[in-house]
Amino acid sequence: MKFNIRNAATNDIPFLVKSVLEAEKAGSEIISYCSIFNINQEKLSNVINTAFSEEVGVVVWDLNTWIVVEDPQGNPIAGLASWVELDNFSSEKQKFQYLNYVLRPDLNDNHFKTKISQLQKVALQRNAGTRQLDFLFTNPDFRGKGLMKMLIGYAIKNCSESCLQLQVLSSNYSAIKLYEKMGFVEETRLTCIGLKSMGLLADDTKICMTYYG
């Protein structure tokens, strides 16, 4: 079977939204955004779908940021977001600004504040000017065919920045193994005990991995 890599298109948006959700879950049922903003998956899907379709200016949820692998019928079956981190307006801040605007949480609510402050303990720095990869996802029906290897290889080949970085939960062994195989090395890790048990993240430890060209 022949698989192609191409830039994401409008028809791919439902797949991209699914990729964001599944990558965030990393095999669990926990999605940080749902826990923080107290919303269900359906609501989050709609909000992310809007970000893609209305081009609201969130770099990680912008069609131009995404590349996908398509099956012979043209359907997306694997994807990832790839962008250059900005100097003074981090992608994380953009994302939160958008979610805050749409979902209007009470910023003075102590539960909201606690959840945010706990998650910030594992907020790994995305270095400005570096290429970032995120939301790496392969449709389970097509796993084991080297599609993610294809996508990461493509991102590496087309990277003109000094390095590529990605973040992964320490419990996601298969992903870590693949990234190491592709040449990524562990840069830093941050742990906050209790994130998993509080339902805020699928694991207590997040790792930043870097590929130096």
Binding site: F89, E92, F96, Q120
Partner: protein, 82 residues
């Protein structure tokens, strides 16, 4: 409202949000200059600025608000429309 008044009002908001970590702001001031200017503090900062100036930012304004200079430009535009 003139630019200097806008800047001094923004400074008051920064002092309120960042407390002892606050610094004298300029048009170039951005998140790199204040260690505690993280994602959550950014949300609080925007909310306090909206309250201080009795305005509401549009999404497209928020998505380009990466430094104090942009805040001033957007505020000047909005306040002159009122």
């Amino acid at each position: 409202m003139d630019k200097n008044t806008i800047i001094s009002k923004i400074q008051e908001v920064f002092d309120l949000v960042f407390k002892e970590k606050s610094i004298p702001i300029s048009e170039e001031t951005n998140a790199k200059d204040i260690e505690t200017w993280d994602s959550f503090t950014h949300l609080t900062l925007i909310q306090e600025i909206e309250t201080a100036f009795s305005i509401e930012f549009k999404l497209k304004e928020l998505m380009v608000m990466e430094n104090v200079g942009n805040m001033i430009t957007i505020l000047e535009k909005k306040l002159n429309q009122i």
